[in-house]
């Protein structure tokens, strides 16, 4: 195994491979930072070049685009409240309020640093998991996946803040919206009204951009100031502070990274919800988070970015062990890597172990380089928050429109974005939490599918499988712990008062 680790490292440390890695990183960090343009587009563009390369070089070029995409994704989330991609929605929750407070540099620096550490943790978990990858994935069947998703749904409570009833309603609304389209189990069309663009349902990116970016634009226009009306302060100091923040909250990073890895392991769940899971869990477990989260708490940014990058290591687990891509991006990557003779599956853990190690090394080296690169430009990026609204509003609006359109090249998606923009505006104005709606939208179909398959396989008895019971116990802890903690702190407050 050590031989393979060394061979893997040497493979990607050749000058051509390193150069291609840098190309991948730069392309990814610039292209992926644009909302709606995900790493998938960048990879599809680069694949033809990869055909002419050797295995290590192809890994360096293609995987580096993917490995670092989450780092740059956060930039637009923090600066403009426009999510750069599926995995950077929750960064908005505290990143954007920080930018509004004039702390954009600190938020960006904290985000980049925690992203690097998260990526490394994800890679290490993957490394440790190699010997047990196959048995681990074999343990988890549809019933266990269903219960894991349920743990996610329990997060709605945490993400609802002080308005749990509104949160549950918003979550329910998300579930209803998620039902639009062809029902995968029966082939029936649900709520499509014979409209062809509704057959594939509502896409996450236009919905998210609508919910989060459009309301901010309206507020910005009404207020007549830029994103931040407070002085920016010393940007270099802000950056230093952000890096320090990440190291101060190292346990939070570790916890969030592990959540990210766990979410990554579940195929199809990964990219869109790891951030919300980490955010919800941080909100439940960090002292005083209930009061400060959502108002520009750096811990909200750190938790999210550590998790989104760590999940990449996790999502490689089912891909490498069984050839089941953890996400659609990985499906594309391995579709391309097959051409240079790298086939996911059992071989990756035996004969081609050195290639697996190359990927792990790449995850580590790539995230570090990207974070350093992004940190270098933090000051320039942060200045964007001081631009006047007459300039910012059209720029962000164009980004929002292109972002919605680019995800699947459908004009209808732009209309959907504006429709959800209106909904988002009223939700924000009325104090309705928006994250539960997104969570409902993402988790609804996954929960439904795993439940159907479980019932077909085992009937209702699937709920009594040991794995399911263990995960259910975890769910109970997740829900009960914050309540218990709340009561304790109230009791303590009463004691001190008396």
């Amino acid at each position: 195994m050590i031989d393979a680790a060394i061979a893997g490292l040497i493979g990607i440390l050749q000058w051509k491979a390193l150069l291609l890695m840098m190309v991948g990183i730069v392309i990814s960090s610039t292209l992926v930072a644009m909302p709606g343009i995900g790493s998938k587009t960048a990879i599809a563009l680069l694949l033809p070049i990869a055909f002419t390369l050797n295995q290590f070089e192809a890994i360096c070029l293609i995987m580096s685009v993917w490995a670092v995409s989450n780092t740059a994704n956060s930039i637009t989330s923090i600066l403009f409240s426009v999510p750069g991609g599926g995995g950077s929605q929750a960064t908005i929750m505290d990143g954007y309020p920080m930018a509004k407070k004039g702390e954009a540099a600190r938020a960006l620096a904290a985000s980049f640093t925690s992203s690097a550490i998260g990526g490394i943790i994800g890679a290490i978990v993957l490394l440790v998991a190699i010997p047990i990858l196959r048995p681990l994935v074999l343990l988890l069947g549809p019933p266990e996946f269903f219960m894991l998703v349920m743990v996610g749904i329990a997060m709605v409570g945490a993400l609802s803040g002080k308005a749990p009833v509104k949160g549950i309603i918003a979550g329910g609304l998300g579930l209803i919206i998620s039902m639009v389209g062809v029902h995968i189990i029966t082939g029936l069309h649900r709520f499509t009204f014979d409209q062809i663009f509704l057959i594939d349902g509502f896409k996450l990116i236009p919905v998210t951009i609508g919910l989060f970016a459009i309301p901010e634009l309206i507020y910005m226009g009404v207020k007549g100031t830029g994103i931040s009306d407070l002085p920016l302060g010393d940007l270099s100091k802000g950056r230093k502070q952000g890096i320090q923040d990440a190291f101060t909250h190292r346990w939070l990073i570790l916890r969030s990274s592990l959540i990210g890895v766990w979410v990554g392991i579940i195929p199809g769940l990964g990219s869109a919800v790891a951030d919300w899971f980490a955010y919800g869990s941080a909100k439940q477990t960090c002292p005083g988070a209930r009061e400060t989260f959502g108002k520009g708490d750096v811990r909200g940014v750190i938790a999210v970015d550590a998790a989104t990058n760590a999940k990449e290591g996790g999502s490689l687990i089912p891909t490498l062990a069984f050839g089941i891509p953890g996400s659609s991006t990985l499906a594309l990557i391995f579709g391309g890597l097959i051409i240079v003779g790298i086939t996911p599956g059992r071989d990756m853990l035996t004969k081609d172990l050195h290639l697996t190690f190359s990927m792990i090394w790449l995850l580590i080296i790539g995230t570090i380089i990207t974070s350093i690169l992004c940190l270098t430009f933090t000051r320039q990026l942060a200045m964007a928050t001081k631009l006047r609204p007459t300039l910012m509003i059209p720029v962000i609006l164009v980004m929002a429109v292109i972002g919605s359109f680019a995800a699947s090249s459908r004009f209808e998606d732009v209309l959907i974005m504006f429709a959800f923009g209106t909904i988002g505006y009223f939700m924000r104005a009325g104090g309705w939490p928006r994250p539960p709606l997104l969570l409902g939208l993402v988790l609804g179909p996954i929960a439904e599918r795993h439940m159907w398959t479980s019932v077909q396989l085992h009937g209702v008895d699937f709920l009594w499988r040991p794995g399911v019971l263990i995960i259910f116990a975890l769910l109970v802890v997740c829900v009960a712990y914050p309540m218990f903690q709340d009561r304790n702190s109230k009791l303590r407050a009463q004691e001190t008062e008396s």
Partner: protein
């Protein structure tokens, strides 16, 4: 009369110029039309996956066989199982031969079964040819006793097949078996071949149906056992072809499902492309599929390449479009709900007629009666569901025990 000579002369001159112009355009068509132009290659699915692979492969290698050496760009247009891209080609794409598309192989079937959203007419699109043929294979896991088709047919134990969902091949093949009276059950919601192999390895299911290209590796690694196949014959497959098995209706359905496999990666252009330009595209398509570099790339990617002529593709499409209503309705019932017909006396009524009980295969079962969807008749007259009384002998058409009744006709 004299006065008309001038305009007449002018008219004939103009006509002459126009005719010369047309002749000239055709000459340009045949050779120089594509010079400096860009051809759009529309791919019916998102980046990644088979259709995208073949679309991009052709986009890389086809241009050099088209005089004028045009640029080729790839545009992914996913949606509604390929219907979005087909609708685009039929209505919005430029009709001058600068847009070509790899469309879904089930296009003809979707048109024949009048699927929601279909706004194209395949006979009005011009086929270029297909880049690969496909084979569909039914496999079982090694940890169960069945090894052959006959054993599967005689199996007393229910054999579980993992499938994506109705409409997919993984669902259609086991449902064909089910229609032929095999003791199989389809477990839906397991998306992707690898996930279904994993379900077999985990012991959740016993088998699945999948394309041979994606199953080959699993046969070797997991010891999966091929049972039978459909579509293009394969030397490496020592099992029977589906056309030699099943009942008469089953065979017809197998042929219907197998036809599109012959043209597994179909390419089209729009209608209205001048004949010589269409020929040019078809020739370039054929030449590209015999290109050494293309074949090398496909081999590295472990994808098969087999050129099918446009004429063959059109014939296959006509066959599917001309399939009898009986076969299509049988196909549809396999893809969606299976209704059972049974006549028996009503034994119990619950929830004010919303649940009706009767004996079916020696067991008392219930069916749901919808006030809106279920047609209820007593003595040939349309009535409300509460008019059904215990003891009446009724003919039921229903979606299995516990399912909803389509109609109940009582005497």
């Amino acid at each position: 009369m004299k006065k008309f000579t001038g305009p007449l002369a002018l008219g004939s001159l103009l006509a002459g110029v126009a005719a010369w112009g047309i002749a000239d355009t055709q000459a340009v068509n045949a050779q120089g039309f594509y010079k400096g132009k860009t051809i759009k290659m529309v791919v019916r699915s998102a980046p990644g996956g088979g259709y995208d692979f073949y679309g991009r492969l052709l986009a890389r290698h086809m241009a050099k066989y088209i005089p004028g050496n045009p640029n080729m760009i790839v545009i992914n247009m996913p949606g509604a199982g390929g219907i979005v891209a087909a609708n685009y080609m039929a209505s919005r794409a430029k009709k001058n031969g600068t847009e070509i598309a790899i469309l879904t192989r089930e296009l003809a079937l979707a048109q024949r079964t009048k699927e929601i959203g279909v706004r194209y007419d395949l006979e009005k699109l011009s086929a270029l040819g297909s880049a690969a043929s496909s084979t569909f294979l039914v496999v079982l896991g090694k940890n169960q006793p069945i090894r052959t088709y006959q054993q599967l047919k005689d199996s007393k134990k229910t054999v579980l097949f993992g499938a994506t969902g109705p409409g997919s091949g993984s669902y259609q093949y086991p449902s064909l078996l089910k229609k032929d009276g095999f003791n199989v059950k389809i477990i839906t919601g397991i998306i992707g071949g690898s996930a279904r192999f994993l379900a077999i390895e985990r012991g959740d299911t016993h088998g699945t149906a999948n394309s041979y290209e994606s199953t080959r590796k699993a046969i070797k690694e997991l010891g999966l056992i091929p049972i039978f196949y459909n579509g293009a014959p394969h030397k490496a497959l020592p099992v029977p072809h589906m056309s030699t098995l099943l009942s008469k209706e089953g065979k017809q359905l197998a042929a219907l499902l197998g036809a599109p496999l012959a043209a597994g990666r179909p390419f089209y252009t729009t209608s209205g492309v001048p004949a010589d330009r269409l020929k040019l595209l078809r020739d370039a398509f054929k030449a590209a599929l015999h290109d050494k570099e293309l074949l090398k790339e496909a081999k590295r990617a472990k994808r098969n390449v087999a050129w099918t002529a446009a004429g063959v593709m059109e014939k296959v499409n006509q066959e599917i479009l001309g399939a009898s209503d009986a076969v299509i309705s049988a196909y549809k019932s396999g893809a969606k709900k299976v209704y059972v017909k049974h006549t028996a006396p009503v034994t119990k009524i619950k929830k004010k007629g919303k649940r009706i009980y009767f004996t079916y295969k020696g067991k008392e079962i219930k069916v749901k009666v919808s006030g809106k969807r279920t047609k209820v008749q007593v003595n040939g007259k349309k009535v409300k569901r509460k008019a059904i009384k215990i003891g009446m002998t009724c003919k039921f058409k229903f979606a299995g025990p516990g399912g909803e009744a389509k109609y109940i006709k009582c005497k």
